[in-house]
C-alpha cells in the first residue's frame, strides 16, 4: 500500500486568482495548529511550494488552504477543482503561533497575507484577546476573507490602495492612526508583502510594541534539511521552516530577505510564460 494523492473536496474563488481549497488530509487535519503550513506538489514534474493551513477539521479530515495565483505553480493549482487530486501534501510544518491572552491585538493582512493571518487571528480571538483586524489590497477585488475576518475580530478596518473599497490608503494607515490616538496595543501581527511587514516593524519599533511577522522565504523540503529558507533574525541564521515562519519583527533582516526571494525570478518568469502558452494551446485544442 502506498500513499494516495490528496483529494480536493471543495473549491471556491474568494477573489479573482484567489481560491480556497478543502483537501482530504486526515493526518494533517488532526495535528494542525494556527500558524502552521503545508508543502505541496501538484504533479510529478511540479515544484514544492509552501501554503498556510487556514483551517482544519479533524472530524472530516480536511484542511483548507487559500491560494493566490502569482506564478506557475499557484496558477496551475488554481485551475484544479473538486474531485481533482494533489500528488503530495506534507505537514503541518513550522512552529505554531504563540497564543495567549495579550490584551489588544492588531492583526494586519495585506493581500493573501490575510489568509495566512486568519487562523492566528481566530486563535487570538478565541483566547479572549480584543482583536482589531486590518485587511487590505491594491483594489476592491483583492480584499479577501472579509466575512471571516469580521467573525474573528472585534473591530475591522479595510483599506485599498485605489480607494475602490474601504478607506483609501495602506493597511498600515489605521495602525498609525491608532498609535497617534494613543490606543494601547499589546501585540501586532503583520503578514503580507515584505515592504509592508518592514514598514509595520518600523512603526512599532520606537514604541516597543511586540510585533510578529510571518516570513515567506523560498522553501524546498520544509524540514530543516536544505537551509534554503534561512533568514537572518537577531543576527543569527534561522531556518524559517522549522524555527518559524513567525518571528519577532524587530529582529528580522528584511533587506536580506527581499534579496534572497528574488533568487529565481528569471526562471520563475520562464516557467510562467511556458505555462501560459501551454494553457493557451490547451484551450485552443478544446
Amino acid at each position: 500500500m502506498e500513499t494516495q494523492p490528496f483529494k480536493i473536496v471543495e473549491v471556491r474563488f474568494l477573489a479573482p486568482d484567489v481560491k480556497l481549497f478543502r483537501i482530504l488530509a486526515p493526518r494533517i487535519a488532526r495535528k494542525q495548529q494556527p500558524g502552521q503550513f503545508v508543502i505541496l506538489r501538484v504533479h510529478e514534474n511540479g515544484e514544492r511550494i509552501p501554503l498556510t493551513i487556514a483551517e482544519s477539521n479533524p472530524t472530516d479530515g480536511t484542511v483548507t488552504i487559500i491560494v493566490q495565483g502569482i506564478g506557475k505553480t499557484t496558477k496551475h493549482l488554481n485551475t484544479l477543482n473538486a474531485g481533482d487530486t494533489i500528488l503530495d501534501v506534507v505537514g503541518p510544518l513550522g512552529k505554531a503561533s504563540h497564543i495567549e491572552k495579550f490584551g489588544t491585538c492588531v492583526v494586519i493582512g495585506g493581500g493573501v497575507g490575510t489568509a495566512i493571518a486568519y487562523p492566528t487571528a481566530k486563535a487570538l480571538h478565541q483566547a479572549g484577546n480584543h482583536v482589531i483586524a486590518i485587511i487590505g489590497g491594491r483594489t476592491k477585488q483583492l480584499v479577501i476573507l472579509e466575512n471571516e475576518a469580521r467573525e474573528v475580530s472585534d473591530e475591522l478596518f479595510i483599506t485599498t490602495d485605489d480607494g475602490s473599497y474601504g478607506t483609501k490608503g495602506l493597511v498600515i494607515d489605521p495602525l498609525k492612526k491608532m498609535i497617534a490616538d494613543g490606543r494601547k496595543i499589546d501585540l501586532v501581527l503583520a503578514i503580507g508583502p515584505i515592504p509592508m511587514m518592514r514598514a509595520v516593524a518600523e512603526v512599532t519599533r520606537p514604541l516597543g510594541i511586540k510585533t510578529v511577522v510571518s516570513l515567506n522565504p523560498i522553501m524546498v523540503d520544509g524540514t530543516g534539511m536544505c537551509g534554503g529558507c534561512r533568514v537572518h533574525v537577531g543576527g543569527k541564521s534561522q531556518f524559517a521552516c522549522v524555527d518559524g515562519p513567525e518571528f519577532d519583527a524587530h529582529q528580522v533582516d528584511f533587506a536580506g530577505l527581499t534579496k534572497r526571494n528574488a533568487l529565481y525570478r528569471d526562471m520563475e518568469k520562464h516557467s510562467l510564460v511556458e505555462f501560459e502558452q501551454h494553457r493557451c494551446k490547451l484551450s485552443e485544442a478544446k
Binding site: M1, E2, T3, R27, I28, K31, R41, N45, G46, E47, R48, K72, T73, L87, D88, V89, V90, G91, P92, L93, V220, D221, G222, T223, G224, M225, C226, G227, G228, R230, H232, S237, V242, A255, G256, K259, R260, A262, L263, Y264, D266, M267, E268, H270, S271, E274
Partner: protein, 477 residues
C-alpha cells in the same frame, strides 16, 4: 580452489581490470552514469585475480562481512545469480554498495593483493552480479515467515530504514516506512546524483520490498505529522525504528554566506536530484543557472564531489573544489576524485574561503580565499591546516556550494522527550541491539553515528531488525 585454473603467479600477473566508462569530455555534459559496468570477459579476468585466501582479509575489511571469496568463486563457475545471492546474504543492496562503497578503505583496502598488485576489483564484481540479477529479473525474493500480527514503524527510508524493513518483513511482521519527502531512498535519491547511482536501481529495490509486502507512506514528517508516541500508543505499532539520517546542513559561519548564489550542498543536490532541476524547464524546480558561470564547492567529501560535478554538468564554465587540507586528507572516494579531475574540475587544495563578497543586489560575486599550510597533526591524526597570513585572494564566483558536513535533524528527538541524545543531538543507542533509552524504540544509521556510509547504515539497519524481531518475539526489553 578447483574453479580457478590458474596458479597464484599467473593470477597476480593479470593486471587489475579497468572499468569501462563514458569519455570524460562527453560525460561532463550529461547526467548518465559514468561507469558503464564490466562485460562477461572483463568480469572473468578480474575474478581470476582472486587468490582465494584461506584467511580472506577482504571479508574482514567489509563492514557487513560480505563473503567475497565465495561469491567470486561462483562468478568463476559462471553462476552469476548464485553469486548475487551469496552477496545478498550479508548485503541487501549490492547494486548500490558495489557502486558507492569506499572500497579502498574497506574490502579492497584489506585485500591481500592491494599492496603489490592492486586489489581485486571487489566493488566492480559485486556491481556486475547485482546488475546481472536485476537485468535478468530473477531476483530471488525470499519467502516471508508466517504473519506474526505485530506492527513495526520505520522512520526514514534511507539505507538504514530500507534494509531493516527488508529483514523485518521476512520475519512475518507488518512493516510500514514513513518518509518525510515525496520519494523513497533517503540520500540515495536526494543526495547521490544520477551519474553515480542511477535512481532506477533504487526504485527497483523499493519495488522488490513492496512486492514482499513492505508499506511505504511518503509525506509524513515524524515529529510533526505524527509523533513516535502516537505511533506506539495510538496506531498500534509495537516497535519504532528511527533511521532519520544526519540531514541538517552545516555552514561555514563566514560573512556573506546568506548571499544569493550560496547554497548548502543539501539544497543544491536536492534541487538537482530529487526535484530534477537538471531537466528544467521540463521540471519546474529552478536551480540557479550554472551555464557559463564560475561555481565552487567548499569541502572535500563525496558530497562536495557530487555537487561540483553536478554543477559542471549544468554548464559551469569553471568548477572549483576549495578544500582546506591536501588531497591525501580528502574523505571522498578515490574514484570520484579521479573522475572529477578527468572531467576538468579544478582543485584548489590548501585553500579556504574566509568571506563571500556580494554585489549591490545581494548576489555572490567572489569569495575571499586564504591559502593554508599543513601544521602538526590534530586529535584525528590528520595534519591541521593553518592559514598563511596575508595570502588572501579574490576568486570570482557566481555560485558557491557549502559541503562541509551535516548534523542531526532534531524533529524526532525534540518531540520524543524520553529519547536520550548525545553530543550533537544524535540518538543514543546500544551498539549491538541499537536499543534507545525508550522502550520499544530503536535507532540506526547516520542519526546514531553521524554522517557515515551507505554500508554502515545498512549494517546497522539489519542489526536493529534482528533486535526488533527478538523484542517482538520475547516481549522483553
Amino acid at each position: 580452489m578447483a574453479t580457478n585454473p590458474l596458479p597464484p603467479k599467473a593470477r597476480t600477473a593479470i593486471p587489475r581490470q579497468h572499468m569501462p566508462e563514458q569519455e570524460a569530455a562527453e560525460r561532463a555534459h550529461n547526467f548518465s552514469e559514468v561507469n558503464l559496468g564490466f562485460n562477461f570477459d572483463i568480469t572473468k579476468q578480474e575474478a581470476l585475480r582472486c587468490l582465494a585466501c584461506a584467511n580472506p582479509k577482504c571479508t574482514d575489511g567489509c563492514p557487513v562481512g560480505v563473503k567475497v571469496k565465495d561469491f567470486i568463486e561462483l562468478i568463476l563457475k559462471g553462476d552469476y545469480l548464485a553469486a548475487a545471492a551469496k552477496v545478498r546474504e550479508d548485503d541487501v543492496l549490492p547494486a548500490i554498495t558495489g557502486r558507492v562503497c569506499p572500497q579502498e578503505d574497506q574490502c579492497e583496502g584489506a585485500c591481500i593483493m592491494s599492496k603489490k598488485f592492486g586489489p581485486v576489483g571487489i566493488g566492480y564484481l559485486e556491481r556486475f552480479v547485482a546488475d546481472y540479477e536485476r537485468q535478468t529479473g530473477k531476483i530471488g525474493l525470499p519467502q516471508n515467515a508466517p504473519p506474526t500480527g505485530k506492527k513495526v514503524a520505520i522512520v526514514g527510508s534511507g539505507p538504514a530504514g530500507l534494509s531493516a524493513a527488508g529483514d523485518l518483513i521476512q520475519k512475518g511482521h507488518n512493516v510500514r516506512v514513513f518518509e518525510a519527502l515525496h520519494e523513497i531512498g533517503g540520500v540515495l535519491v536526494y543526495g547521490i546524483p544520477e551519474f553515480r547511482l542511477p535512481k532506477e536501481i533504487v526504485r527497483q529495490e523499493v519495488e522488490n520490498m513492496k512486492k514482499m509486502g513492505v508499506e511505504f507512506e511518503t509525506n509524513v514528517v515524524v515529529g510533526k505529522t505524527v509523533t513516535v508516541d502516537e505511533l506506539l500508543n495510538e496506531e498500534g505499532y509495537s516497535a519504532v525504528l528511527v533511521a532519520t539520517g544526519a540531514g541538517l546542513p552545516q555552514f561555514l559561519g563566514v560573512p556573506g554566506e546568506d548571499l544569493c548564489g550560496v547554497y548548502s550542498a543539501n539544497e543544491f543536490l536536492t534541487r538537482v536530484n530529487l526535484m530534477k532541476a537538471y531537466k528544467f524547464p521540463e521540471y519546474d524546480e529552478p536551480i540557479y543557472d550554472c551555464r557559463g558561470k564560475n561555481v565552487a564547492v567548499v569541502g572535500g567529501g563525496n558530497t562536495a564531489m557530487d555537487a561540483i560535478r553536478s554543477a559542471l554538468r549544468l554548464g559551469a564554465k569553471n568548477a572549483y573544489v576549495i578544500y582546506r587540507r591536501s588531497e591525501t586528507e580528502m574523505p571522498a572516494r578515490v574514484e570520484e576524485v579521479k573522475h572529477a579531475k578527468e572531467e576538468g574540475i579544478q582543485f584548489l587544495l590548501l585553500n579556504n574561503p574566509v568571506e563571500f563578497l556580494g554585489d549591490d543586489r545581494g548576489w555572490l560575486r567572489a569569495a575571499s580565499v586564504i591559502k593554508m599550510e599543513l601544521g602538526p597533526a590534530d586529535e584525528s591524526g590528520r595534519r591541521r591546516p593553518v592559514p598563511i597570513k596575508g595570502s588572501e585572494y579574490e576568486l570570482p564566483l557566481d555560485v558557491a556550494v557549502i559541503a562541509v558536513g551535516t548534523s542531526s535533524n532534531p524533529l524526532v528527538q525534540s518531540t520524543t522527550p524520553d529519547l536520550k541524545t548525545r553530543k550533537g543531538g544524535y540518538i543514543e543507542a546500544n551498539t549491538d541491539t541499537l536499543k534507545t533509552s525508550k522502550p520499544g524504540v530503536f535507532a540506526a544509521g547516520d542519526i546514531v553515528t553521524g554522517g557515515a556510509t551507505v554500508i554502515l547504515a545498512m549494517g546497522a539497519g539489519r542489526k536493529a531488525a534482528k533486535a526488533i524481531d527478538d523484542y517482538l518475539c520475547t516481549g522483553t526489553w
